[in-house]
């Protein structure tokens, strides 16, 4: 009896996060093999309209839990609701995006369910013995561990940009079920007071398809608009190495590397970044890496698909102009 693969869909203000669609797309392929129904679980407020969207990405069934107390994510309420649903329906697997929410929710939920959790995974495969196995980076990306558990549900959080999003099928139909939210008062020990929205129009680093990153050779904060200009013509995000962050040139939320964000864009353009191992740990799974650096000996060239040895202050504006011409 197949009990289903569940995707906990992350949404904010009824906008589904990209990683949830990536998970639906990949789990659809696995569900086709195992015969499990693919179930999208959506928690929030005023989320009825999302059922059609998650269906179009492959769900066989949609569970909606629509409640004002779920409008904003809180650990207690979300854990409580999902724990009760999972105990009732006993799915084979529960998959969540490795986002700020997923990283907070999944370990607490796994602990309450008494099962293990494979976190921050960059690979997922069907496995005859353990239903699914997962690959996850350890030692700052120096190695990958393959992990599994024989308990059910198998739980994992998957890093954004790991899997491609399949083309949606608007004609697809799914069973839509609305469940009541059972939230104990005790579950609301953290109260949201305020949300400060970052005003950036650029994509979020871990979700961006193109990233333009700057390092020590950027020389100062006054030069980062040059990278922003390049990022904007390609619809990309701006990143930075630890050296640039430590120098105070750019906020730490833009840091790519072992103590910053781990990214897997289609294109990573490293500008004036030497390529310290801690930086490579955060971006070495990028599909195409471009290095721009004056120093031909810089380590970044060893991991680059394309390198250009020269002055970033000449090359980056030229490249931006070149792309602008093409776009217009």
């Amino acid at each position: 009896m197949s009990k289903g693969i569940w995707i906990v869909v992350e949404q904010r203000n009824a906008q589904i996060r990209k990683v949830s669609l990536e998970l639906l797309s990949q789990a659809r392929l696995i569900a086709n093999e195992t015969g499990d129904p693919l179930v999208a679980v959506v928690l929030g407020q005023n989320i009825q309209d999302l059922a059609q969207e998650v269906t179009s990405y492959g769900a066989d069934k949609v569970i909606l839990v629509d409640n004002e107390k779920l409008a904003e994510y809180t650990t207690g309420a979300y854990t409580s609701v999902l724990n009760k649903l999972i105990r009732k329906e006993e799915p084979n697997a529960v998959l969540i995006g490795n986002t700020a929410m997923g990283k907070d929710l999944a370990p607490r939920l796994a602990q309450r369910l008494g099962v293990g959790l494979a976190s921050d995974c960059t690979g997922m495969e069907k496995d005859d013995a353990n239903f699914l196995t997962f690959k996850r980076p350890i030692y700052g990306g120096k190695a990958f561990a393959q992990v599994a558990t024989d308990a059910k549900p198998v739980m994992a959080t998957i890093r954004p940009n790991t899997f491609p999003i399949a083309a949606p099928d608007a004609a697809r139909q799914a069973e839509v079920v609305t469940e009541a939210a059972e939230i104990d008062q005790d579950d609301l020990r953290a109260i949201l007071k305020d949300v400060i929205i970052a005003t950036s129009e650029r994509p979020e680093l871990t979700e961006a398809e193109i990233i333009v990153s700057g390092g020590r050779a950027m020389k100062g904060p006054e030069n980062f608009p040059m990278l922003e200009a390049l990022a904007d013509v390609v619809g990309g995000a701006v990143g930075a190495s630890r050296a640039a962050v430590d120098a105070g040139w750019i906020d730490s939320k833009f840091q790519v590397g072992q103590t910053g964000k781990t990214v897997s864009p289609i294109l990573y353009i490293a500008c004036g970044i030497s390529g310290a191992i801690q930086h490579l740990a955060g971006m070495s799974s990028s599909k195409v890496i471009v290095a721009i650096n004056k120093d031909p000996e810089a380590n970044i060239f060893n991991v680059a698909d394309y390198g250009i040895v020269g002055d970033i202050f000449e090359i980056v504006p030229l490249l931006t102009e070149e792309i602008k011409k093409l776009v217009s």
Partner: protein, 256 residues
């Protein structure tokens, strides 16, 4: 305010060798305090500097925790005392086992108002132990915290999400996992290093904390270095317009 900051002793990954068969050699790797844990210790020191109270440090792991340099390394960064749970079976502990051991130790220490963790360990980086501790201790847990302000029996925290910052009011006791940018960890002064040796250290066994049965929940099937991604390594010399055009032509083909 009783603050307990948890930390892990890890191999310095710069010294980890990748062998020809893609397995890892950790023999030459020096042991150090996890780089995500140092900001958590410093954040604890800031909390008690503002609100009063004391910081205790806590770690669980194999016998190597007893290394006196590592113990001084932690205590020289400010904590008033140190608790260790030592058992060689913890060398390969998964997050569940680590969290259960930490939770049992925290309960034995008693009266914790605030438990602080780094956002993950710098070796396995599962980022699970903070939320697991919250569940096991029956406390609120908040991750990705970049600012903590104490207000009576509550803390106001800033939680950095992908594209926004949440301001949350959290009732104590609570488990908080902090980001590396919450505060710059100190470099201990000579005086701090010298006085660290005089601070109390309490060492327990698993039996001391009443943890006889502590099963693993995740099995590691193998650990291998990645096969090196084939990179094209096309290097263009010079910063002329021609060089940039050549780069862009290549990229256009890649992105099609």
């Amino acid at each position: 305010m009783n603050v307990i900051t948890c930390y892990k002793i890890v191999p310095d990954d710069q010294d980890i060798i990748v062998r020809d068969d893609r397995t890892l050699g950790l023999e030459k790797a020096e042991l150090e305090i996890g780089q995500y844990d140092l900001p958590a210790i410093e954040a604890g020191m800031q909390v008690v500097a503002d609100a009063g109270g004391k910081v205790s440090a806590l770690s669980v792991g194999p016998k190597l925790l007893e290394n006196s340099k590592l113990k001084k390394g932690v205590l020289s960064r400010g904590p008033a005392d140190l608790y260790l749970v030592v058992d060689d079976s913890l060398a390969e502990a998964d997050t569940h086992q680590t969290a259960r051991t930490l939770a049992a130790a925290i309960q034995k220490i008693g009266d914790a108002d605030l438990v602080l963790c780094g956002e993950g360990s710098s070796d396995l980086y599962a980022q699970q132990v903070g939320p697991q501790l919250g569940e096991l201790l029956g406390m609120a847990n908040i991750n990705a915290v970049s600012k903590i302000t104490v207000e009576g029996d509550k803390v106001i925290v800033e939680r950095t999400l992908e594209d926004e910052v949440e301001v949350l009011e959290v009732s104590l006791p609570a488990v908080i996992s902090v980001t590396t940018d919450i505060v710059q960890p100190r470099i201990p002064s000579m005086k701090e290093v010298l006085s660290a040796g005089k601070k109390p250290v309490t060492q327990w066994s698993l039996a001391d904390i009443g943890l006889a049965d502590n099963p693993q929940t995740m099995e590691t099937i193998n650990t291998l270095a990645p096969e090196l991604a084939e990179r094209k390594q096309i290097i263009i010399e010079g910063d002329s317009e021609e060089a940039v055009n050549e780069l862009w032509e290549n990229l256009r083909q890649e992105l099609q």
